[in-house]
């Protein structure tokens, strides 16, 4: 039997929220298991207050920061916590979807929810994901039934008849909206061009007003994505950058196919070197979106100011 449990938890109000999270955490603590709460700030404070002194034994992370980019949550929040606690059965409240998510963020977050199942199959852990039935749209609530094998509501717990996570991944693998202003672009077909791409990135980042530390992160992201195009994407690609929502968005497009939906979500097994480019891109960017097909892949990223 798969020791990994992934529950979609529907709540309607603060009392319902606490009823579905606090006893879950308290029973984990009383069983001596590690507990993590990764939810948006206000809900985080609500849980912390309700737990009282027991909160000291729980790890907290503001999901609007740690999981601002949904692609960051599996590797850098969940996997990191599980790796820290081998031989245990961690209990995690993870809330990656909230009403203020933009449509592109939501699409990435729904894919993230779907991929959790494959990422941690066989690992002893229970993750419960709260969904606000009062504020989230119908699509988010329906898709939660597709991404979670088990559903929880008002104290009832049942197997989701709609569970089909890879359908949800595929449903959000859609052409990405075109940028609506001027775009800076550069084609590349060899590794020597990477330095030029970094130069273009720095120039566009300064125009967009990104702080210095984010410029360096952007250069790393651009280099990693373009390197992937050279190695896996048919050997050529195009970098595009444009100002977006007060920050900078960009994408690297090539003629490869990103076959593994978990690429960039888990560190390579055995600590083997290589294959960490997308993992780091997920860590550094504020949003990563992917559209991939048989002979074209477009990876889009956003850096907020």
């Amino acid at each position: 039997m798969n020791p990994f449990v992934h529950e979609g938890f529907f709540y309607a109000d603060p009392d319902g929220y606490l009823a579905g999270t606090v006893p879950f955490l308290e029973s984990a603590l009383s069983a001596g298991q590690p507990a993590l709460v990764a939810v948006p700030g206000p809900n985080l404070e609500r849980i912390r207050d309700a737990l009282g002194p027991a909160a000291d034994r729980v790890r907290f992370a503001d999901m609007t920061v740690a999981g601002r980019n949904p692609g960051r949550i599996i590797p850098w929040v969940l996997h990191a916590f599980l790796a820290e606690h081998p031989g245990t059965h961690p209990h995690i409240i993870g809330e990656p979807i909230w009403a203020e998510r933009t449509p592109q963020e939501y699409a990435a977050a729904a894919q993230h929810e779907a991929l959790i199942n494959a990422a941690f199959a066989g690992r002893a852990a229970t993750i419960r994901c709260p969904y606000d039935t009062g504020r989230l749209g119908l699509r988010a609530l329906m898709e939660a039934e597709g991404t979670h094998p088990v559903l929880v509501r008002d104290g009832h717990r049942w197997t989701s008849p709609e569970y089909a996570p890879f359908d949800i991944v595929a449903a959000h693998n859609r052409p990405l909206p075109s940028p609506d202003g001027p775009v800076a672009s550069a084609c590349f077909d060899d590794a020597v061009a990477l330095a030029d791409l970094r130069g273009l990135a720095a120039e566009q980042a300064r125009l967009a007003g990104l702080p210095q530390g984010r410029v360096a992160a952007l250069q790393i992201a651009v280099t990693e994505l373009a390197t992937n195009s050279l190695v896996h994407g048919g050997g050529t690609g195009v970098l595009r950058l444009w100002p977006d929502r007060g920050g900078l968005s960009g994408e690297v497009a090539d003629h490869g196919r990103l076959a593994d939906p978990l690429a960039g979500r888990l560190p390579p097994a055995d600590g083997a070197p290589g294959g960490r480019g997308l993992l780091i891109v997920n860590h550094l960017c504020d949003l990563v979106r992917i559209h991939t097909g048989p002979d074209a892949t477009r990876i889009r990223f956003h850096f907020a100011t």
């Binding site: 060899d190 790393i220 390197t227 480019g277």
Partner: protein
Amino acid sequence: MAPTAAVDRLRLGDHVCWDFDDDDARLETIARFVEGGIRAHHRVLYLTETDLPARLRTALRDRGVPVDELLAVGQLDPAARIAALADYVAAARRDGYTGVRVVADMSGAAGAADAIERMAWFEANLNPVFTGGRVMAICLYDRRVFTAAELSRLGPAHPATARPQDDPATWAPLLRAVRLPEGSGLRLVGAADAANRYAVAALLGWLVGDAVRAGRAALLDLAGLQFADVAAAEAMVAAGRAVPAGLRLTGCRPEIGQLITLVGGAGMLDRTA
């Protein structure tokens, strides 16, 4: 536009993959590189399958270089191959030269089934010799002879590559590596990415071997490293794990330090830097 004029900016220690697709630009690049070497009192080694080609002799004479005298005294030294570059460099120093310049015409080396892998291995493992700062080389790769796929294997065996389309006014070597005077140490200046992947791997391999043989810690001075990609950061962390006495990274920029931390090398960072 070929970056011919950029050869004037090369220094002892540089090892550059020089791609060309035009014979005039190639000749001009070699002549300029050789002439600069003669003026700096370097010994100039021209590695070629043929004798010093007639056109190059003419081009050098046109520049006022006394080719025959230099050949007679051995400052200009055409050869098919040499036994070991490090020994050649040491001998030139004993003979009173201030450095060695190498022009390596790689076209004759193409052909055999495993030629590319052998060349890439050979080129990468020459890099430690350059870190002593007494020899510089341009390795000439003809794009009409080598495929783009072959050059994508051969180029990264060098710390830097110059391509025909590069601008001579702005071209500079992507990376320079300098051996530190004491202990087992290396200073990296510039950038480390897929364009010099195998060169960086060979340099780190040399550093690890030197530290392990001497039974001491290794030191990587990164104060001049402006960019490292994820694989370069991983290579540094892997090198650190291979040295029992450890590897210390100094002068790291914050973003490179963050990258090294993210790939598991937090313990190697010198916090005082």
